[in-house]
């Protein structure tokens, strides 16, 4: 397939890639931009381990052709922490045991960031619903729910204290 030039704004940086228009966003991130945090679990949009934020929306990057992402703002797991300072959600996953084997973790954390942005105080059922596109085979989700609920509380506390996320 003929390559074309695409522009992305990834984790705060402008990036240019030359790839075929139907190249998957997942492959562009992993192979062209060397951002391997997004994982391929199923390649058909079921498991959510390739989740990234595209213009603020949670997408399965294995289902997004790069042509559709041209000019968009992408946040991957690598773009969450500020240097050594973990994002509130990352810290909550660490504290609550929300990550076991770690392969679903990047997608799960981004799904949580997305959920809390849309709904800063989700009920337990809203947490379950918000994460239903991300499969985890290790935890049985319970530690993850706890991490999300903890992150929600801590985000609120930080916002009230005037700390920028």
């Amino acid at each position: 397939m003929t390559e074309r030039t695409f522009q992305l704004h990834v984790n705060g940086k402008d990036r240019t890639v030359n790839v075929p228009p139907m190249a998957r966003l997942l492959d562009v991130l992993r192979h062209e931009l060397e951002l391997t945090g997004a994982k391929e679990g199923c390649g058909e949009g079921e498991c959510g381990s390739c989740s990234v934020l595209m213009n603020g929306e949670l997408v399965n990057s294995c289902l997004v052709p790069i042509a559709q992402a041209d000019g968009s703002t992408i946040v991957t797991i690598e773009g969450l922490a500020h240097n050594e300072q973990l994002h509130t959600v990352q810290r909550a996953f660490l504290q609550c045991g929300g990550a076991q084997c770690g392969i679903c973790t990047p997608g799960m954390i981004l799904a949580t960031v997305h959920l809390l942005k849309k709904n800063p105080h989700p009920t337990h059922n809203e947490v379950r619903e918000g994460l239903n596109g991300n499969l985890c085979r290790c935890t049985g989700y319970m530690r993850i729910f706890e991490a999300v609920e903890r992150a929600a509380i801590e985000s609120t506390t930080r916002t009230e204290a005037g700390v920028a996320e």
């Binding site: 992993r30 058909e44 690598e78 084997c101 392969i103």
Partner: protein, 753 residues
């Protein structure tokens, strides 16, 4: 007892920061200069001779590295127990998806086209696809009788017990289906070879020395020329115990022929279709019991479908056989078991390893016995649960202080069992949503069998780097269950330094000793204990040398280690397995101390069966267990919750659809595992009775939660519906077929619809 500082506390996962940052590097994230990619051409038929292989048009074949069985420099098998599993099919195939030839090319998009362009012509042979077909031996596909392995385990005089006049005899047949491990990271391995450096293989795997052993056989290389490195592994659950040896050998063969590094990454469809799953099983129970519910004798037949090659079937069968009696005091018991060959990809290790299969049958059967006698399921258990001083089915005396009856009461209390059972009985007749509550009592042996751990003869080390960093040296792998964290906790506790002062040495067979495979719930209990003694040895060396005073900080300890190394060259302490005293296991008669220790559990499930949709959902789940000392509460709870979730999938959702040995629903869209909305609250309770021969009192924990949920859920469904379902997975369509016939929808409720 001395108060511990680190063991028993919820320290953070050792590699947790890398994982939450997305910085942990899995096999698909790694690359080597000049690396090309490998792919596998597989059989399309369940059984047959390979007549001809043709490389079709439209593919630049001269650019490809092609490997067939003829390119194997060593022996054409993956070393396991019986060595009958070919690395590449040579002349004939025995199951769909059997690897026949390998291709490698730099272009990842060209490879699938090339795989599709290889045309293989077969002369088909008759094939066998169930335990029932295999046992008739009408078509022989393996050995003389299709039987990989059989066991006879006998205690007391079973036949005499069945002849007694004061007993009732209750029979039942139970079946369990295959289950896909469904680790979210697919299998993958990478290999590099040069004559000077030899062969190095990296991968997603559980058992580095299993892969190493297989590579020695396949490549014919000398031991020191083969190196296996485990990289971050995205889930395994047993599914990366044996098959990585196959993929590692394939990557190695391609790398040796092409003289370039080669990586093979399976996609989901290939991983699900070609790699191992949990063995399907069939159990037949015949039980003699007095009218008041005292178990007198069991006659159990336990059979597994092993797939086309023997691989691990004999050991899976062994564990299933030993666990078939459950946690009961049987005066007389006989278990006859067999693993059969079928023309299906070999079934393999999956969390629980035979025990979930045989315990499903036993615990369903117990509820059916209770029902037949007209007594409550808990009363039947009360009369028969093992007590300290009594003997298991293998004749092993329980020395540990256990209180299964008391633990059962506590679990039932937590679940609100008595109140709910009565309430559901009252409410169900007028409701379209039938509610039920049921439970299972069970045990799981930790580690290999008594003789197995002796045979493994594990070796563990603790050392220091020249800078004084303390490292744990093991081949025990991390794949989410917490090996890194637990072993560093044990080492830090033993050395008297901070948790942050200990790290894991890279899991590289050229650097670490063989601490045995990471399987069988053995890492914390067995390997942890060896880490403890190796660490004590290292501390003793430093104290004796005078480099360390009796009281020290972590920094002082590290400085002393560095000073010792600059003077003596190295600082390393090793520890080798020694069996606990009085552990004797007779592999021939299946008698004696089967396992050094058992974990015990009572799981309670509350369900709703919807008589409109016929779906069964679990509303609440209580998991009560005694696993010895809990070394890290967060990790331990996570192990139980994750295991229960997998087992709920096993019971109600996860069905492998077979068509002549081929899995046809090999996608996450049609093989259904539980999502975040499919699970009940899982409430975990621990009782801790320290086990003196385990690390800081720990026993095994990882597999236990896989054993109990399926029978507890099906017992609850029996309570809800009054129907006995004796097989899993139990899908809504199965419930529909039965309930549509038998359960009358109450008129009022029907109107409400």
């Amino acid at each position: 007892m001395q108060k511990e500082r680190i063991v028993g506390t919820p320290v953070f996962r050792k590699e947790g920061v890398a994982k939450v940052r997305g910085a942990a590097r899995y096999i698909d994230d790694l690359s080597l200069p000049g690396m090309i990619l490998g792919a596998t051409v597989r059989s399309a038929v369940p059984r047959g001779h390979i007549r001809q292989i043709e490389f079709g048009p439209g593919v630049p074949w001269d650019e490809f590295t092609i490997v067939t069985a003829k390119d194997i420099p060593g022996k054409n098998y993956i070393a396991l127990i019986q060595n009958d599993w070919p690395c590449l099919a040579d002349g004939c195939v025995n199951h769909p998806q059997e690897a026949i030839l390998l291709l490698a090319h730099p272009d990842r998009h060209l490879l699938p086209r090339a795989v599709a362009a290889v045309r293989i012509e077969y002369q088909p042979l008759p094939s066998v696809h169930s335990i029932e077909e295999s046992e008739t031996a009408e078509t022989i596909i393996w050995g003389e009788d299709n039987v990989f392995k059989s066991f006879l385990m006998e205690k007391g005089d079973v036949d005499a017990a069945f002849a007694r006049e004061d007993v009732v005899i209750i029979e039942g047949e139970y079946a369990t289906g295959a289950q896909e491990q469904l680790y979210i990271e697919n299998n993958g391995m990478m290999a590099a070879y040069s004559e000077s450096d030899g062969l190095t293989v990296w991968g997603s795997l559980q058992c580095p020395f299993y892969v190493h052993k297989s590579l020695l056989g396949v490549t014919g290389l000398a031991e020191e020329k083969v190196r296996v490195i485990q990289v971050e592994t995205g889930g395994a659950f047993g599914g990366k115990e044996d098959y990585p040896s196959m993929i590692g050998a394939h990557a190695a063969l391609l790398a040796m022929k092409s003289r370039r590094p080669v990586k093979i990454i399976y996609d989901r469809m290939e991983d699900m279709a070609a790699t191992t799953k949990r063995h399907p099983s069939r159990s037949r129970h015949r039980t003699a019991v007095t009218r008041d519910g005292k178990l007198v004798a069991a006659d159990i037949e336990f059979c597994l479908d092993g797939g086309a090659y023997s691989t691990l079937s004999s050991t899976v069968l062994s564990r299933g056989t030993i666990h078939a009696g459950g946690p009961y005091s049987w005066p007389n018991i006989r278990v006859r078991s067999k693993a059969f060959a079928t023309n299906t990809p070999p079934h393999g290790a999956f969390r629980g390893f035979g025990a979930p299969q045989s315990l499903f049958a036993t615990e369903r059967h117990m509820d059916r016995i209770a029902k037949a006698l007209g007594i409550a399921p808990e009363d039947l258990r009360r009369r028969n649960l093992l007590r300290t001083g009594e003997t298991t089915s293998t004749g092993q005396v329980i020395h540990q202080q256990i209180d299964l009856e008391g633990w059962m009461e506590r679990a039932l209390e937590q679940a609100g069992y008595y109140e709910k059972r009565a309430r559901f009985d009252r409410e169900n007749p007028t409701s379209l949503r039938k509610k039920g509550i049921g439970f299972a009592t069970f045990l799981h042996g930790a580690g290999f069998t008594g003789s197995g751990e002796r045979y493994l003869n594990s070796l563990v080390g603790v050392d220091a780097t020249p800078e004084g960093r303390i490292r744990v040296l093991v081949s025990s792998t991390e794949f989410g269950q917490g090996t890194n964290t637990i072993l560093c906790q044990v080492a830090a506790e033993s050395l008297g330094i901070d948790y942050t002062g200990v790290e894991m040495a890279p899991c590289d067979t050229s650097l670490v000793p063989n601490s045995g495979p990471t399987v069988a719930s053995r890492t914390t209990m067995v390997v942890g204990k060896l880490v403890h003694s190796a660490a004590l040895g290292l501390k003793q060396t430093l104290l004796a040398s005078g480099a360390l005073s009796e009281s020290y900080t972590t920094e002082e300890f590290q400085q002393a280690a560095a000073a010792y190394i600059s003077k003596h060259g190295k600082l390393r302490s090793m520890s080798r397995y020694e069996a606990p005293p009085n552990i004797y296991w007779d592999d021939q008669k299946y008698r004696g101390e089967a396992y050094a220790a058992y974990a015990w559990a009572v799981y309670v499930a509350e369900v709703t069966v919807d008589c409109v949709t016929y779906s069964a959902t679990v509303d609440d789940f209580v998991a009560f267990q005694e696993v010895g000392r809990v070394l890290n509460p967060t990790l331990a709870i996570g192990q139980i919750e994750g295991g229960v979730a997998q087992a709920i999938g096993y019971a109600l959702y996860e069905k492998v659809v077979w068509e002549r040995g081929l899995m046809t629903n090999n996608q996450m869209t049609n093989y259904i595992m539980p999502t975040s909305q499919d699970l009940p609250p899982i409430r975990v309770f621990f009782e801790e009775v320290p086990f003196e021969h385990g690390a800081y009192g720990a026993k095994g924990i990882g597999e236990l939660p896989m054993d109990g949920p399926a029978p507890a859920i099906l017992n609850a469904i029996a309570h809800a519906t009054g129907e006995d379902f004796n097989f899993i997975p139990l899908l809504p369509e199965d419930i529909a077929v039965r309930l549509a016939r038998t359960v009358l929808i109450p008129a009022e409720a029907a109107v409400a619809v």
